[in-house]
């Protein structure tokens, strides 16, 4: 695990160096070429991290991020990992494949036998996933992993397309996308058999369609992503704020007629685009829910949605609320504490929607990061939900490379400080509950600090002007 982090740090240093250097200051308007690159890796090679001459590194980086190299290379590496994982599963005691992949495969097997996928204990996903993975039984066990790595590379491609639409040059966009495509974390997650890449592709697809104003496709993908996992439902508010009719009244009026302004605000939500989006997304979601409810009944609703909403996992996880929920699991305060834990999440999501809705990608990134950090249960799989949106945010950050890497190391350090006592609890039998609790609080503080740094250093493309009254 620690080797993976050092490797990721190295990779990020290689690419982020050129990215930060190129994007610092006004390369965001379309058609403008980025300034000539003056050895972007000058800042990226502190002693000990890069072992090749700078010119060689520079050539390697630009070679690697050429269009016909980057995407095939990232797919090839993931494919190699899948085959290596298969080899490790067959020969070593410690398995490469994640337990979730076996859960999906077992559920798919139940479907091929004509039964409900929920016969498989701990299968808590949409039946659509088990249906998608039925070729695991008919063709080969490795089909699901191939599907996941294809979605992973597709996510990288979608990131590249969104960045191009947001005004970056093709080369810079590719370099930023390589932060996802050549990142060992999503590589490892997809090749181990986690289905997070499907959702990443759906969310990024929604954002791409919104950016390109293809509302029907955006609504379709959004409905599908909410069906697969609940958390994208938090994007509904910033999407609604983006699609509503923009205000055109002059400011003088508003001070006198505050209640009229409120009514106008509510009225701005009633427009054709928002109605179209809501009906398509709602229609897709309701149709899928109705179909699977007809096929599998109450169990589908409970395992796919209700379980996640009322989930009270008292076993140790990254959440700051873990120990509190464990100690109060059977007390009469349990429901109130659950509500108290939900309030900061709600307040912050509302604030993030309102403050940043004009930049949808940034708003969604903040939403997801806040949702995961303040959630009652937090496992490392959840980090991918906002990491796939981070490359969209990075081009507009005015952080220096040192600051960026420092924040990244801080994030890893926070995880490491939690993982230590957690290992001793689970595998050595020491009572480290207090340490785990404190490490969870520290991780929350670190996450908030990083988010504050990102918010403070985020520079939107243009300062939006208030349209004056006619």
């Amino acid at each position: 695990m620690f080797e993976g982090w050092t490797f990721k740090k190295n990779l990020l240093m290689k690419h982020a160096g050129s990215v930060f250097r190129n994007l610092h200051g006004g390369t965001d308007s379309p058609g403008q070429r980025p300034p000539a690159q003056t050895s972007p890796l000058t800042q990226a090679s502190p002693a000990g991290l890069v072992f090749l001459p700078r010119s060689v590194m520079e050539r390697l980086v630009s070679r690697l991020t050429e269009k016909h190299v980057l995407f095939p290379a990232s797919f090839a590496v993931r494919l190699a990992l899948v085959f290596y994982g298969d080899h490790q599963d067959r020969t070593m005691v410690v398995k490469y494949t994640d337990i979730d992949y076996h859960v999906f495969t077992d559920a798919a097997r139940f479907i091929t036998e004509g039964e409900s996928p929920y016969n498989r204990s701990t299968y808590r996903y949409t039946p659509l996933l088990a249906w998608l993975l039925t070729p695991n039984i008919y063709l080969s066990m490795v089909f699901g992993k191939i599907l996941f790595i294809i979605c992973d590379v597709l996510s990288g491609l979608l990131i590249y397309r969104i960045l191009c639409l947001r005004g970056l040059s093709s080369e810079t966009a590719r370099r930023v996308s390589s932060l996802w495509l050549l990142n060992p974390l999503p590589m490892g997650v997809s090749s181990r058999g986690n289905a997070e890449s499907i959702l990443a592709a759906l969310v990024l697809g929604t954002l791409l369609c919104m950016e390109g104003r293809r509302l029907i496709w955006a609504a379709f993908l959004y409905g599908l992503s909410v069906h697969m996992k609940i958390y994208p439902v938090t994007y509904a508010l910033p999407i609604a704020l983006t699609l509503r009719t923009p205000e055109t009244r002059a400011e003088e009026d508003t001070q006198r007629w505050r209640w009229m302004r409120f009514i106008r605000f509510i009225g701005s939500f009633i427009n054709k685009e928002l109605f179209l989006f809501a009906s398509v997304a709602g229609g897709v979601f309701c149709m899928l829910t109705a179909l699977f409810y007809y096929m599998y009944g109450w169990e589908f609703l409970h395992e796919t949605y209700l379980y996640h909403l009322i989930r009270r996992d008292i076993r140790h996880n990254f959440s700051p609320y873990f120990y509190m929920l464990y100690l109060t699991a059977d007390s009469r305060w349990s429901q109130w504490l659950g509500l108290a834990a939900f309030l900061p999440q709600l307040v912050l999501l509302l604030a993030a929607s309102w403050a940043f809705h004009s930049d949808l990608a940034f708003s969604c990134f903040l939403h997801t990061a806040i949702f995961v950090s303040f959630n009652k249960v937090c496992t490392s799989q959840y980090f991918l939900w906002y990491l796939c949106l981070l490359p969209l945010v990075i081009p507009r950050l005015s952080l220096s490379l040192k600051q960026g890497v420092g924040l990244l190391l801080l994030w890893f350090a926070g995880q490491g400080i939690w993982l230590g006592p957690a290992y001793f609890l689970e595998f050595e039998g020491y009572n480290t509950f207090l340490l785990i609790w404190l490490a969870g609080l520290l991780f929350l503080i670190i996450n908030c600090f990083i988010l504050i740094q990102i918010i403070t250093h985020y520079k939107p493309t243009q300062t939006p002007q208030r349209l004056k009254a006619d």
Binding site: Y321, P344, A355, L366, E426, G429, T432, F433
Partner: protein, 245 residues
């Protein structure tokens, strides 16, 4: 013709008597043999994931056609992962039958114990020395109210059951008793098995699992809510300050 009938009668009776004698021999051997079988249990690994290693030593004069069954009565503080066992099936030479569905995530005080039947070497002859390693996992327990950092879970050694096709008269086998148990792992029928009363009574083995401290409930709740509120206020403040409207 009567003479031929007479010969046939004598031959049949002779066979039956021989068979009875053989049976008696087998059953006699069985009783001798039962007394010299022994079971020992050892628990390895630490933390929430342990291994229960059971070693069964059968008498040196092995009767052919003997089947062994180990019956484990597990407390509610631990569980076995049936999916993990299914993936281990290729590498292990024993099979297990569990008497009830196991919830993998529920805490100890909200569930009950269960019984598992382990059939070592189900296909093929039973060797003299058997070793069965079962991975078990500890459940989360209720937080302690008396400041104790650990809770104890007692694992009883398994019951050793034996059965042979060659002796079906289970009388006169004291101190061993006869019980009914599933014949094979398929659980399609029940058979009589002889439960071995071991000479050395092994006591239960005690496992220690960490538990939370209910005494800290108020400071933990207070501390958690305080930190989350402060983080919430700080984030909101910066978001409002740097909003893009």
């Amino acid at each position: 013709m009567y003479f031929i009938l007479y010969i046939i009668c004598i031959a049949t009776c002779h066979c039956l008597i021989e068979k009875d004698e053989k049976n008696e021999n087998h059953c006699g051997l069985l009783k001798q043999w039962l007394g010299s079988s022994s079971v020992s249990v050892e628990i390895s690994k630490k933390g929430f994931h342990r291994e229960v290693i059971t070693t069964v030593e059968l008498s040196p004069n092995v009767l052919s056609g003997v089947r062994v069954l180990l019956v484990y009565t597990w407390p509610r503080g631990v569980y076995i992962d049936p999916y993990q066992l299914a993936s281990m099936r290729d590498q292990s030479d024993w099979q297990i039958l569990i008497d009830s569905a196991i919830d993998l995530e529920v805490p100890a005080h909200k569930t009950s114990g269960f019984v598992s039947y382990v059939y070592p070497s189900p296909d093929g002859p039973t060797p003299r020395l058997l070793k069965v390693t079962i991975p078990i996992h500890g459940r989360y327990h209720e937080p302690s109210s008396d400041g104790e950092l650990f809770t104890s879970v007692d694992i009883q050694p398994p019951e050793l059951l034996l059965r042979t096709e060659k002796c079906l008269q289970f009388n006169n086998l004291e101190p061993h008793t006869v019980v009914d148990a599933p014949c094979t792992v398929n659980n399609s029928s029940m058979c009589p098995w002889v439960k071995i009363q071991s000479q050395q009574e092994h006591g239960p083995m005690s496992l220690q699992f960490p538990v939370g401290d209910r005494f800290l409930m108020i400071p933990v709740c207070g501390g958690t809510l305080l930190v989350t509120m402060i983080c919430c206020v700080a984030l909101s403040k910066y978001m409002w300050k740097h909003k893009i409207i």
